[in-house]
């Protein structure tokens, strides 16, 4: 899988896709959606779709793309290669969401939480397939959050398509399992070849599974915390695991809109009435308008 675009800039998101098989523009197709890397505190989250004509579902099943969770990494890689070979009837697309995008979305001033980001990404990929001319008639999605709500949202986006949102969809529908394989292959490769934009010197690649409860991952986080900058952008700052390390190991930072400001700003209401001695003469407006005051101490 060619992730060179991601390796060039892994601070935002990037979309990859296979060519659209001609038959998918002619025959009604079924499309599966799944993601990989939702839980880890490290690395990107990858959303994938995989689609094929209804008439070729049996061939897709024959690829043994059974429940991707039961497959090893090498088996997934091999299966992905086979799907690539069967590109005359199988198509896929990915949306790689960088850890930086996840962190900045979840921690932004206007919160954009992971579920919304996930739902929008899934809908975006289905729309992408439609824009490529794929004749999608059925969509199967592995659930994120409440299946009913998610199903309702997606059905609203795509009224002409039969949408099914189900938990464990990757075990039920081969096209979802195929999507899950694409997502996992992409995530594993992205994590393995992660380019640290921070030019870290002694970065060790042994960060374990990336899941918060993995001792190797926790050790790696503790080793790479930087008191002023926190972590490399490989880390999802919005994860509780990362935040609790920052609270212990990193320096505090205050922002214009941080709550501390309110207490400080209010002060004692009486202070406005009690004349506390002669008011120091204010500097001339020329200086006030420019925020300049005499330096009385260095």
């Amino acid at each position: 899988m060619d992730l060179s675009e991601l390796e060039r800039d892994n601070t935002d998101r990037c979309r990859l896709s296979s060519p659209v098989p001609a038959v998918c523009r002619k025959e009604p197709c079924v499309l599966g959606v799944d993601e990989a890397g939702r839980g880890p505190v490290l690395g990107p989250m990858v959303y994938a779709i995989c689609y094929c004509p209804l008439s070729r579902l049996a061939d897709l099943e024959a690829l043994k793309v059974a429940d991707s969770k039961t497959l090893s990494e090498s088996e997934r890689d091999r299966l992905f290669v086979k799907m690539e070979e069967d590109k005359d009837f199988v198509g896929w697309a990915l949306d790689v969401l960088s850890p930086n995008l996840i962190s900045t979305s979840m921690l932004g001033r206007v919160k954009y939480n992971l579920n919304s980001l996930s739902h929008d990404t899934a809908a975006g990929l289905v729309q992408y397939a439609l824009d490529q001319g794929v004749k999608v008639t059925q969509v199967f999605v592995d659930t994120v959050g409440l299946p009913e709500k998610y199903q309702e949202r997606l059905q609203q986006c795509f009224p002409g398509i039969e949408v099914t949102v189900k938990a464990k969809a990757d075990a039920l529908y081969p096209v979802v399992s195929a999507a899950s394989i694409c997502a996992k292959v992409a995530r594993d490769q992205a994590v393995k070849n992660w380019q640290f934009v921070e030019k870290l010197q002694d970065v060790d690649a042994d960060y374990g599974s990336g899941y918060p409860n993995d001792p190797k991952t926790k050790a790696w986080l503790r080793k790479h915390v930087e008191p002023v900058f926190g972590f490399p952008q490989f880390v999802r700052f919005s994860w509780r695991t990362a935040q609790s390390i920052l609270e212990k190991e990193a320096e505090g930072v205050t922002w214009e809109d941080s709550s501390a400001e309110d207490q400080e700003g209010l002060g004692k209401i009486t202070s406005y009435f009690l004349s506390e001695g002669p008011r120091p003469r204010l500097p001339h407006r020329y200086f006030q308008e420019r925020g300049l005051e005499s330096a009385t101490t260095l």
Partner: protein, 216 residues
């Protein structure tokens, strides 16, 4: 260690190279409030600079490979030392007699005020604000209010020219919130310029002299 970010005139750069302590920060009196303030003395050129500081909340600096927590920005701008000497001359006004300068410019709160006595052309400067007498080739000075007001009037006029040249908005405050130069210049009246310039100069002189200047 703490680090400071200063905007300085370019020519000061070599002052600190030419001689040890080429540039010294000293605490001297603020001639308007009588409190202490930080000044920069360039010992080579014997020039005085006032220090203004721009400090907003929640600001820090990255300086090379370090973070400086307090994100203040300091400006050093040349200041006429006569404003400081005037402060001491006015303090001795009540005694009403001619005195040698080194008995006037003394201050145990800001002992560095003696640096002012080493300024070149000090005598010429003093001529703007004092009457002087020479006895046995020693000079004695007495504060002169009317000479000082004439000198300040010149300062106000120079400031008015500078305000116009720099298109500083001197009109009603409401426009000044976006004090970008340009559109308002023509509309401001001469009166506004005089008032604004008087206000600026008054940041460097005691209150009663500011009132006298306003009448003058």
């Amino acid at each position: 260690a703490r680090q400071y970010v200063f905007l300085l005139p370019e020519y000061l750069k070599d002052a600190s190279k030419k001689m040890k302590n080429g540039l010294m920060f000293v605490k001297l009196v603020n001639p308007c409030s009588g409190e202490g303030a930080i000044y920069l003395f360039d010992m080579c050129l014997q020039q005085l600079f006032e220090i203004k500081v721009f400090k907003e909340k929640h600001r820090s600096w990255f300086i090379n490979q370090s973070v400086q927590s307090e994100g203040h920005l300091h400006f050093a701008t040349p200041m006429d030392p006569l404003f400081l000497i005037l402060h001491y001359l006015m303090k001795t006004e009540k005694e009403g007699k001619f005195q040698p300068l080194d008995q006037v410019v003394v201050d145990d709160t800001f002992p560095n005020c003696t640096l002012l006595l080493k300024l070149p052309e000090l005598e010429k400067l003093l001529g703007h604000v004092t009457e002087e007498k020479e006895i046995d080739s020693k000079k004695y000075y007495k504060y002169s209010k009317e000479k000082t007001l004439k000198w300040l009037e010149k300062k106000v006029n120079q400031t008015i020219v500078a305000l116009k040249t720099n298109k500083i908005n001197v009109g009603a405050r409401v426009q000044s919130a976006a004090f970008f130069p340009g559109d308002q210049a023509s509309s401001d009246k001469e009166e506004d310029y005089i008032r604004y310039a008087h206000g600026l100069i008054s940041d460097y002189i005691p209150k009663e002299l500011s009132d006298d200047l306003s009448k003058h």
